[in-house]
């Protein structure tokens, strides 16, 4: 029986952790000093912001034709980039899954995915603008590449988590490789793939409103020009339109997911109670 004094302290002080926190706090103070973030700077900034927000409202929709053209181009960039990127992600993701293909095949595929992921879409868009010139093509290629980096990686990870027992059974029937993939593998990951694809479309829609800033097509170019000309009321109109577009995209993505993953019908989507498809979802968990 050990005495109270002999027992170890259940909450020992960890000097290293404490030192870490102190260091972090010191760095924040130091960085703020370096960047000249002072109270006066905040006050003058807020003053400027007030002026800016006053000029934003009311939004000016008089140049609606320019607005619609930009939005339509952004939508086209997003849809085409998603279609291209997702279509390429299927074979690349499959090639990158270490449980189904030999290492000599999965390593190059993984390298390709890492390369596609390493730069922000805006940097890639700048590269493509330099390569293929101004316009929507550069935006499409940049976002398609970004889609591969995201979707193919998640798809490869989903394939690496499948049940190999189901694959083994299909293989044991003498099925060729293509059928093993189509019947033994894809049904296990299809629902998740639809999920990734809709998230990617959603994200491409957001990014397609931005690549225009570097000249790769879409509403971003219009937005940037409006900023530079201090047309803040038009800027406001553009921002409101982008919000509407993104919300529309989100609705669309939710609908696609409901149809493919929950097995809802088109009519279910317009029903008010979300309980009907949710009941089915309980039986079909997305990542079992």
């Amino acid at each position: 029986m050990s005495t109270a004094a002999a027992r170890p302290d259940p909450f020992p002080v960890d000097g290293w952790k404490r030192a870490g926190w102190v260091l972090l706090a010191a760095y924040v103070v130091y960085a703020a000093a370096q960047m000249d973030v002072s109270w006066d700077r905040v006050v003058s900034g807020l003053h400027n912001a007030r002026h800016f927000f006053e000029r934003l409202f009311p939004p000016n929709f008089s140049r609606w034709d320019l607005l619609i053209k930009g939005l339509a181009e952004s939508l086209q960039i997003a849809v085409l980039a998603s279609a291209l990127g997702i279509a390429l992600s299927l074979p690349i993701g499959l090639a990158a899954s270490r449980n189904l293909v030999p290492a000599w095949m999965s390593w190059p595929a993984r390298l390709l995915i890492v390369a596609a992921r390493s730069f922000h879409p805006v940097i890639v868009a700048i590269l493509f603008v330099k390569a293929v010139g101004f316009g929507a093509l550069a935006g499409i290629l940049a976002l398609a590449l970004a889609s591969i980096g995201f979707t193919a990686k998640l798809f490869a990870e989903a394939i690496e988590e499948i049940s190999l027992k189901q694959v083994e059974a299909v293989r044991a029937t003498g099925a060729p490789f293509g059928s093993v993939i189509g019947i033994g593998v894809l049904p296990q990951v299809f629902a998740r793939f639809i999920g990734f694809a809709t998230y990617q479309l959603d994200s491409n829609l957001r990014n397609s409103t931005m690549v225009g800033i570097v000249g790769a097509g879409g509403i971003g170019g219009t937005l940037f020009a409006a900023f530079q000309r201090f047309d803040y009321d038009f800027v406001c109109a553009i921002l409101i339109s982008i919000i509407a577009l993104i919300m529309l995209g989100e609705l669309l993505a939710t609908g696609v997911r409901a149809i493919f993953i929950d097995g809802a019908s088109i009519a279910d989507l317009f029903r008010r109670s979300p309980g009907a498809p949710a009941g089915r979802h309980a039986r079909l968990p997305e990542d079992d």
């Binding site: 189901q166 059974a169 299909v170 029937t173 099925a175 293509g178 059928s179 019947i183 049904p187 629902a191």
Partner: protein, 249 residues
Amino acid sequence: MLSIKRLSKAYVAGKPVLIDIDLEIAARGITAIIGASGTGKSTLIRCINRLVEPTSGAIEFEGRDLVKLSRASLRQARRHIGMVFQEYNLVERLTVMENLLSGRLGYVSAWRAWRRKFPPADIARAFELLDVVGLAGFANQRADSLSGGQRQRVGIARAVMQQPSLLLADEPTSSLDPKTSVEVMQLLTGIARERGIPVIINMHDVELARRFSDRIVGMAGGKVVFDGPPGELTDGMLKSIYGGEDWLH
């Protein structure tokens, strides 16, 4: 029919799981392989269709040595070997019908399989087999909505869809309750006898093995230690297969 000669398997070099197995399987009849866990029963049965690659030895089936086959010829040979698994191994998100038809994948191109364009004759036979295994009306249900017993019935039907000349069953009843186990064994052995397909079954359950098989092979330590009709399987033999004796009484 099937002749296994000096078959050895070592997952780790120097630690063999199977040691020089010699086994002849006749063109008819139910052979049960019994033995304690970890004696290589499952490895043996998986070496036959090369889900596990043998380390050495030969497996002659329909006049060819399965161990030496190229990938393409192995696929051809696998079409004639049906397999039933302990955990059913159905493709959970596919329907019962799709699972049955997956037994025909060796005969259908991948392109047709992706589009579900199976020959009408196969589909007709799948419906007949659903009747036989007592799952008429389940064709469009997803496999993950079935109970264990129902799943194993689908597993058996999928294997029979191959019109195999040999059936392998790896612990087909180990995940089922005693009553369902007997029903599944009745179904499996019934279909096999009716169609004249030889069956090799791995089993834990000695009583089930005695009841349903024509021949029992007892394995211990990666070797065959008993081979004979169920009647010859004495307590003494069981002792040498499983070790110890307290559990017998």
